[in-house]
Symmetry: C3
Subunit: 362 residues, 3 copies
C-alpha cells in the first residue's frame, strides 16, 4: 500500500501542518499536530457539518498527500461543537434521485457507478461533476475515501465529538479506532440531539457509504439489521457496549484521549501498520484460505523491513530479561509504548535499540 | 427482490388474513393480523410442532404470496403452547439416511441436491417427492424458505414461545429479529424442557438448515463451535447475552412485544427494507469490495423510489427544526416511529409529509 | 476429512500413548491420556517454550497420525510452568528476514510460499529445509498445522497454562476451544509476565500464523485491529470478556477442566465433529450461498453414518419421553452427555441405544 502515497506532496521536511495550532488546509478542512507524527483533521461545514462531495474531495486530497516519514497517525474530528457529522447532504442525494426518472435494476446502477469510476481514473471526474452525473461521482468518492482510510499506512482514529448519524457513522466506521464523547442526558438545555446510528431508512434510503457492510462486520448481522431497519440512534454508552465504538470519554477529555492513543500508535512501523490494516480490513473478509495467504504475504513484507530487522536483533539481545523467570509485565512497557526501537522510517538506522528498563528490580 | 413477489396472490385489496382473529390458511398454518400491515403466521403440528417437508411447502407458498402493498412485517410463531418448533422431523431424515446405502463423498451429496433444485425449477418437485428422493426435496425446501425469509421486502420476526431446538433454532435464525419467552425455572411442574440450541450432534448429525452458517455469523465461530459440538441448549437469558436472540420477554408479553415491533417496522419503505436485508444478509458475507458494490447498487435503488423522493423533500423543509441548536431527540420521534412520511407503497403520493411535532417546545 | 488420516500410524489397537502417565513422543512433545479417547499433547522447549519449525514438524506428524477409532479429542498444552508458548522463535524469522536482501512485492512473497508448498508436496521439504529457504518451510508448516487443527475429526482444546504471546496466541486460536488459567495479580513474586495477545507490531512485524484472520473472525475486526495495532497483552479475564477464550479457571484446575470437556466431546461421532468443524471453520467464511451448500453437503454426509442411523432410530423410540408434557431438561442429559448411543466408530453396532433415565419421575 505504501507505494500509493509515494507521489505525495507531504514529506518529512515539509509536512502538512507542522505547527500545533490550527491551519486551514482547504475550504472545509483544518489541521493541527498535537504531537509531531500525529495529524488532526477537523471538518468544518457550518451549521450542521453535513458531509458532501466537496468535503470528500478535500479529504481524499489530504489522505493521498500523507507521508509515513512525517505522519504515523491521523485523527479525524469536527470543528463544529457537539456535531461530528450530522449526516450526508440529503439535497445531493435528492438531486441524484431526481436525475434518473425511472427505477432501473440494481445492475444498471452498479454499471453507471463503474463507468464513473473509469471516467475518474481517466481524469474526467472534474468534467463529470459538472454534468447531472455528479452524484455518481460523490458516491464513488465516498468509497474511495473510506477505502483510503482502511489502507493508508497511518493509524486512523475518529474522535466523535457529538452527533454522528448516517454518513457520519459510516465515516467513523471506516477508521481503525473510534473514540466518542459521552452522550449528554436527554433534554439538557442547549445540547443538540446526539448519538450515533444509521437512520437512512426513515427517509426510505439505506446506508450508502458502507454502513451496512461495516456495521454487519463490526457488530454482527443481527445488531446491524436492528440498527438499519429501525434507524435507532444510540447513545454513546450503548454504542460502546455493542462494540461500535472503542472508547467513551467526557467531552473535555476527547481530544486528549485521541491524541494520546494517536501518539502511542504513531511510533509503530508504518509498514507493519499497513500490513495489519490490509490483513484485517481486507483479508479477514475473504474465505479463510485466501485470508491466510493474504496475511502470509503481509507477514513476509513486514519481516523484510530494515526497522523490523533491527528490532528483532535488539529483542534477541534482551530476550532473557524479557522472558526470564524474574521478568514481569513492566519489562514489556518499552516494547508496548513503542520506545524499544525507533520504528519510524529511517529511525532504526539511527539507533540500535534501548535496553528495557531494568532499574525497578536490579 | 420486489419483482419476485409481483406474481403473488395477495394484493392490497384481498390480503391474506384481513381479520384480527385466527384464519386457518393451510393444514399446518394459521394466520391473523394484529395490525393492518402485520401478518402473524402460527405453525401448528401437534403434539411437538416438529418441522417437516409439508410445513415447509406451506410456508414457502405463503411467503411467496405476500405483497408489500398489504404486508410490511411478518411474525413467525407457533400455535402449540410452550413449543416454538421442537426440531425437524427425525423420521424424515432417517428415511433419507436409509435411502442411500453407501456413504458417498460430500460432492455427490451436493450434486444430488443440485439435481433436485433443477428438477424443482423445471416443475418436477411434486413428482420427486413421490420418489425415494423426497428427502432431498425437503432439504432444498428448507433452504428456499430460509432464503425467502432473508430476501422478502417484509421485516421477519420470530416470536419464540418456547422450545426451539435444531430446525426450530435455524428457522428463527433466518428471521431478521428474534424475540424469545423467558425460560421458566428448571423443574417447574407442567412446563416442558425449554431452551434454544443445535443438539443435532447428540444424534451424530449436524445442523442442516443453515444453523452452522447463521450461528457462526451471528455469534461468531468460537461460540458456534461450542454450541454445535456440545449440543448445549441455552436458556433464554444466555441466548440474549450471546446475541442469539434480540429480546427476552415474559410469556404473557411475547405476542404484544412482537406485534409492537412489527407494527413499527411495517411502516418502513418495502424497497428500503429489501435493500437493507440484501446488503446485510448477503452483501456482508462477501469480500469487502464486493459487499461495498452490493450496498452501492442497493443504495442507488432505494434513492430512486417515489417514497424516498418525497421523504427527502419533506426532510429538507424541516431540517432546521431537526438539526438546529434547539432540537432534541424528541424531534426525531416522528422519523423513527415511521410517522414522518407515509412510506407504504403508494402512500407517499397521497400525502406530502407531516411536519414533525413541534408543539412540545413552541 | 476422515480419509486424510486413514494412512495413519495410530489405530484403536495401538493408540499413541495408551497410558495415563507422560510419554515422550518426540524431541519436543510429551503425550498422555487423561481418559481413553482423549490425547493430551504437551510442548516442551525450555526455557521459554518458543515455537519453531522443528516443533511444528513434530506436531504435524502426531496430528496426522491420530485415528478417530482411538482418539476423539486432543488437548494441546505446555510442559513448561506458567508458559503456554512464549512466542514464535524470533531468530528463525530474523534468518528469513536476512535471507532476502531486497523488499519484494507481497505477490513475490506469496509466490515463494506457493513454490515451497509445491516442493513440500513433491517430497522435497527435507531438502528445502537445508537451504536458506528453510524459513519459508516453517511459515507454510505453521499454516499446515493450524489447518490440521481446524479439520481433523477430533475436537481440539487449547489448555493455556500461562503466557501465550504471538505464535502461542495463534496456535490457541486454531483450536476449537480455549481454556486459560487466570492471570495472577501483577508483580506477584516468582510469576512471570503472563497474558495473551499479538505483540508482533512492537518488533515491526505482524502475526504470521493466522492471528489477524482468526482474531478478526473470533472477536470482530474492531477489537482485532486494536489488539494487533497496539500489541496489547490481555489478562485472562479480559480475554474471556472479549470471547478470545471460552473459559478461565484457576491454575490448579486447568488440566481437570480441559480433561472433563475433552472427555465429554470425545464421545461424539467423529464424522459429525469433522462436518461441524468444516462447516464453521471453512464454510462460514464463504459467501452465504456457498456456505449453505457446504453445510448441506456435510449434513448429508453425517446423516449417512451407521452411528447416526442407529441414534435416530433409538431417538424415535424414546421421543415421547423426551418431548412429552412430562419431560424436563433432565431427560436430555443422556443425549447431551453422549451416553444415549455409543457414537464412537463401531460403537453403534455393538449396542442399540440406552433408554433415557426415567427413574427420577416414574
Amino acid at each position: 500500500m505504501a507505494q500509493k502515497i509515494l507521489s505525495s506532496t507531504e514529506s518529512a521536511s515539509s509536512p502538512i501542518s507542522s505547527g500545533t495550532g490550527w491551519l486551514r488546509l482547504s475550504s472545509h478542512l483544518k489541521t493541527r499536530r498535537p504531537s509531531p507524527r500525529v495529524l488532526m483533521i477537523a471538518i468544518s461545514n457550518p451549521p450542521y457539518n453535513l458531509l458532501d462531495g466537496n468535503i470528500l474531495s478535500e479529504l481524499k486530497r489530504v489522505l493521498l498527500a500523507l507521508h509515513p516519514k512525517a505522519t504515523g497517525a491521523v485523527i479525524l474530528t469536527s470543528a463544529i461543537e457537539d456535531i461530528f457529522i450530522s449526516h450526508y447532504d440529503v439535497g445531493e442525494i435528492l438531486s441524484f434521485s431526481k436525475l434518473v426518472p425511472v427505477k432501473p435494476p440494481a445492475s444498471v446502477v452498479r454499471g453507471l457507478l463503474g463507468f464513473e469510476s473509469w471516467a475518474a481514473w481517466a481524469g474526467f471526474r472534474g468534467l463529470m461533476r459538472r454534468t447531472p452525473l455528479a452524484p455518481l461521482s460523490h458516491l464513488n468518492l465516498y468509497h474511495e475515501v473510506t477505502e483510503l482510510l482502511r489502507s493508508i499506512p497511518q493509524v486512523t482514529i475518529a474522535a466523535i465529538n457529538g452527533r454522528a448519524f448516517g454518513g457520519g457513522c459510516e465515516l467513523a466506521l471506516a477508521c481503525d479506532y473510534r473514540i466518542m464523547v459521552d452522550t449528554p442526558p436527554e433534554g439538557k438545555p442547549g445540547i443538540r440531539g446526539s448519538g450515533i446510528g444509521q437512520p437512512e431508512i426513515t427517509l426510505g434510503l439505506i446506508p450508502g457509504g458502507g454502513g451496512t457492510q461495516m456495521l454487519a462486520r463490526t457488530v454482527g448481522p443481527a445488531k446491524a439489521l436492528d440498527l438499519c431497519l429501525s434507524g435507532r440512534l444510540l447513545p454513546a454508552s450503548e454504542a460502546l457496549e455493542l462494540g461500535l465504538v472503542n472508547q467513551v470519554v467526557s467531552r473535555e477529555k476527547l481530544n486528549q484521549a485521541a491524541s494520546e492513543l494517536a501518539k502511542r500508535v504513531s511510533k509503530r512501523s508504518p509498514e507493519a501498520v499497513a500490513c495489519i490494516k490490509d490483513a484485517i480490513h481486507h483479508g479477514a473478509t475473504l474465505p479463510i484460505a485466501d485470508g491466510m495467504r493474504r496475511e502470509q504475504g503481509n507477514f513476509g513484507l513486514s519481516s523484510l523491513c530494515a526497522e523490523s530487522n533491527v528490532a528483532m536483533q535488539t529483542y534477541l539481545q534482551h530476550i532473557d530479561s524479557l522472558l526470564g523467570p524474574k521478568s514481569s509485565m513492566d519489562d514489556y512497557e518499552p516494547l508496548l509504548e513503542g520506545d524499544f526501537v525507533d520504528m519510524t522510517p529511517g529511525g532504526a538506522k539511527r539507533e540500535l535499540g534501548k535496553a528495557p528498563k531494568k532499574g525497578k528490580r536490579s
